[in-house]
């Protein structure tokens, strides 16, 4: 009996130990992750009251880039070196491991000196997290002039602006610069030239014809995926073809009223089309589950896919990769419009912005650093590279580049373009002007049917507001429900799923959100009608 009791106690303690081992294993992992993150991020407690350094002394600021896909991960290359030479500032760069890292850093208070983000602009525009640029400019850089439209766009309800996004240009600016075409961030689809030829060069001038060609590919090459899509560039190209004005989580305007994009009449046609692609076997269901943006590239460049949906530069990019790997086939871009309804609405306020956080150890140097990047010299240096070495100015009004801007390896190792912590859409648009390149052609076509409605972009939600919560919930719901529409087994099912999605949105509070958006829109649209 006694012996049994001892055994029982032993067993109990063994069970407990194992449970604890199980739990502490998880705990241990978490701790490690935390430490890694801390190590990667800045060391905010360090030297917060350092005196401004002398001119010839290189100062180091930490920068967090809130984009896990960011192609440059280190402050090196000729552009970075030149910027350091001009400003005396060197950046210690950390690129996000996922989209939750910045929110985590905000939560734990471990912010670096500078944060570059596009997804968390609302959240970072907060006087508790960042210094307002207007205060810093007034105090340290009174000659840093930013045009009033850009300031108006970024001014929050508290009257301050905390960043200015890059990649933004007004309609007038774009119209005045005919060599400025727009950035790489425009959707495009590349198709295999050789296979198209073997199929007898069937015309791809309508959406139906495109689907027909995909069907032919499927029949003739059953092992090939007719269309592979980058996880971030699944919808955009087709949305434009159907004349949908914006993305699934955006706004559209008709007759002076705004409404949420999913309720646009054209949206249902778009969804039916995507569902058709799936039902006819032109796309993989798995494509919607990719969490990695390399998978589609591998399909395309290893010869396992016919069409590749990504951006306007994808044909050029794939071709370089295929060539470097010793392949012999080439990709060509589809026209930017393969439908009469094609329409692109530019409601963009730009792409990403830099924030000077409250943990910044030298706000003065930081704002002056941005001021340099915002100067004509700085903009051209970041966007085109080192003058003379990488480009010379053509008096027509664009740079003669000495390299191929689609050669991602060259661009990334030299740090061209990606240090655009401050820049504008006009300068960036010129990087795309390479006479003869496929991207140039695609972008020129796109410029033709682009309509500018930046006032839509001004429907911005304040962080922690009720409307923001509603919008976040609706967007999250759309993310889940749209896949059900794409992968429906019949068109009827797709339509029913679409209707469920809209109904769900209404249940979450879509009407209230739209009312609020209309009020904001009426208030803010005058900014552009001066």
């Amino acid at each position: 009996m006694n012996r049994n009791k001892g055994k029982k106690a032993l067993l109990l303690s063994l069970i407990l130990m194992m449970t604890i081992a199980l739990m502490s294993a998880c705990g241990g992992n978490n701790n490690n992750d935390g430490q890694k993150e801390n190590a990667g991020a800045a060391n905010p407690s360090e030297t917060s009251s350092e005196p401004p350094a002398k001119n010839n002394e290189v100062k180091e600021l930490s920068l967090f880039i809130d984009a896990s896909w960011y192609p440059v991960k280190e402050w090196k290359g000729s552009v970075a070196e030149k910027i350091t030479e001009k400003t005396g500032i060197k950046l210690k760069v950390t690129v996000a491991t996922d989209d939750k890292q910045l929110p985590l850093m905000i939560a734990s208070g471990d912010l670096p000196d500078l944060v570059f983000t596009y997804a968390n602009i609302d959240r970072m525009s907060d006087s508790k997290l960042s210094y307002p640029w207007n205060e810093l400019i007034e105090k340290y850089a009174p000659d840093f002039k930013i045009d009033p439209t850009r300031i108006a766009i970024h001014t929050m309800d508290d009257g301050n602006f905390y960043t200015v996004r890059n990649s933004f240009a007004t309609q007038e600016e774009m119209a005045q610069n005919k060599y400025s075409l727009g950035s790489d961030g425009n959707p495009g689809i590349a198709v295999r030239e050789d296979i198209l030829k073997e199929l007898g060069n069937p015309p791809i001038d309508t959406i139906d014809n495109f689907v027909k060609v995909l069907g032919m590919v499927k029949q003739k090459y059953p092992d090939m995926v007719p269309l592979i899509m980058d996880k971030d560039w699944i919808e955009q190209y087709f949305l434009q073809q159907f004349g949908v004005e914006g993305l699934l989580d955006g706004w559209y305007e008709r007759d002076g009223k705004v409404d949420y994009a999913i309720r646009q009449p054209e949206m249902l046609e778009f969804f039916k089309f995507m569902n058709r692609l799936y039902r006819e076997g032109d796309i993989l269901a798995e494509n919607f589950a990719y969490t990695n943006d390399q998978i589609d590239d591998q399909y395309a460049t290893s010869g396992k896919a016919f069409a590749h949906s990504h951006t306007v530069s994808i044909a050029d990019m794939d071709n370089i990769k295929v060539k470097n790997a010793g392949g012999s086939y080439t990709f060509q871009m589809l026209p930017s419009a393969i439908s009469k309804n094609a329409k692109a609405v530019s409601s963009g306020l730009g792409f990403a912005g830099t924030f000077i956080t409250k943990k910044n150890k030298d706000p003065e140097a930081s704002i002056k650093f941005l001021q340099y990047l915002a100067s004509d010299e700085g903009k051209k240096l970041t966007m085109f590279g080192v003058e003379g070495e990488h480009w010379t100015w053509n008096d027509e009004g664009y740079p003669n580049l000495k390299y191929d801007p689609s050669d991602a390896d060259f661009v990334n190792t030299n740090g061209i373009k990606w240090w655009y912590l401050y820049n504008d859409g006009v300068t960036e648009g010129m990087l795309s002007y390479v006479p003869g390149a496929q991207k140039t052609k695609a972008l020129m076509e796109k410029k033709e049917f682009t309509v500018y409605k930046p006032e839509l972009g001004l429907i911005q939600l304040q962080p922690d507001s009720e409307e923001k919560t509603i919008k976040t919930k609706i967007d999250e719901m759309i993310k889940n429900e749209k896949v059900k529409i794409y992968l429906a087994k019949s068109e009827e099912e797709a339509v029913a799923n679409y209707e469920t999605m809209v109904k769900n949105a209404e249940k979450i509070g879509l009407d209230r959100l739209v009312d609020w958006a209309n009020q904001t829109y009426q208030k803010k649209k005058d900014l552009f009608n001066k």
Partner: protein, 327 residues
């Protein structure tokens, strides 16, 4: 008289105290161990609990830790919001189904394996099986997810390629994306990963059974199955009950094999979302990605309350029915 009793009373007390101190001193190493555990719990489990306040407040992360106390009270707003969420039913169903499936399949599995192993006479084979079955425990779920993709992806997965090549299927199995496969896959992989690990405990329980009982039973003519049923099984009962109670206490996390969150997070994607979204992943998403800490805290609090109820009631039932219990 009165004085006398009082004197003896105090001396009795001091004596008792001295004895307690003496006993304590004797056990000081043990107390040191317990003390460390207590401090651990105090720092990592009890102190952060004040964060529960958030669930009843409109908390914004930019106000820092202080904001937990200073932000505005909103009562049960966040709880109501969760109950009214369009996915509420689905998320709760997924959490419960996944948890119950795991208890149902993952709890008996190590018991059966332990009994089977105890009947194996070849020691080398026994050791081999034991090692192979508990090794997966040491692979992290992230790695398992990577392996699963390499094996089961519809396009590049080895298993699909092999099955297609053998002509056993004519369309690749979309195990990783089809919502109908998620529960089965999650339960199966959890059993595979943790079964061997928990077998160790049950084997230890079996090892504690007095061998003379078996000998006696054999002489009385009991066959193998009868011996398992009348000796091995009753001998393991105490251990089984304790493990069962622990399992039920952590049932919403996946029971003794755990990993509900890891699986839903790593194997979940927008296609199998209708079956893979569970309370924990949902709370994680709204909390960290959307920065809605109050709402996430409310969701997690609901789950914790359910867990506490479950552990107390299972303990009570165990005490009433089998006599052994955790506390």
């Amino acid at each position: 008289m009165e004085l006398g009793t009082r004197v003896t009373g105090t001396t009795g007390k001091t004596e008792a105290r001295a004895q307690l101190w003496k006993r304590f001193k004797k056990q000081k190493t043990l107390h040191l161990f317990v003390g460390l555990g207590m401090i651990f719990l105090l720092v990592f489990a009890y102190t952060p609990m004040f964060g529960i306040l958030m669930a009843f407040k409109q908390y914004s992360i930019s106000t820092g830790i202080k904001g937990i106390f200073t932000s505005e009270w909103v009562g049960l707003k966040h709880f109501k919001e969760f109950f009214n969420d369009y996915q509420f039913g689905m998320i709760v169903r997924n959490t419960l189904v996944l948890s119950l499936l795991k208890v149902f399949f993952a709890f008996p599995a190590p018991i059966l394996l332990a009994i089977l192993l105890s009947e194996v006479k070849n020691a080398q084979f026994k050791r081999f099986v034991q090692t192979v079955s508990y090794l997966p425990h040491f692979i992290s779920w992230v790695v398992v997810a990577g392996i699963a993709f390499a094996f089961l992806s519809t396009d590049v997965g080895m298993v699909n390629k092999a099955l297609l090549g053998l002509g056993l299927i004519d369309k690749p199995l979309d195990v990783l994306t089809n919502p109908n496969y998620f529960w089965g896959f999650a339960t199966g992989s959890a059993v595979w990963k943790e079964m061997g690990w928990w077998t160790i405990i049950f084997l230890a329980a079996i090892a504690g059974i007095n061998p003379s009982l078996y000998e006696a039973a054999q002489i009385d003519g009991a066959g193998r199955l009868a011996r398992i049923r009348h000796i091995t099984f009753p001998g393991m009962k105490g251990t089984i009950v304790v493990v069962l109670i622990l399992t039920i206490g952590s049932i919403l996390g996946g029971g003794l094999v755990g990993s509900n969150f890891e699986q839903a997070f790593l194997f979940g994607n927008s296609i199998n979302n209708p079956t893979s979204e569970i309370v924990q992943t949902y709370a994680f998403k709204v909390g960290l990605r959307d920065g809605r800490f109050s709402y996430a805290a409310a969701i997690d609090l609901i789950q914790s309350v359910i867990s506490v109820i479950l552990i107390f009631s299972s303990n009570y039932i165990a005490k009433r029915t089998s006599g052994s219990s955790l506390f």
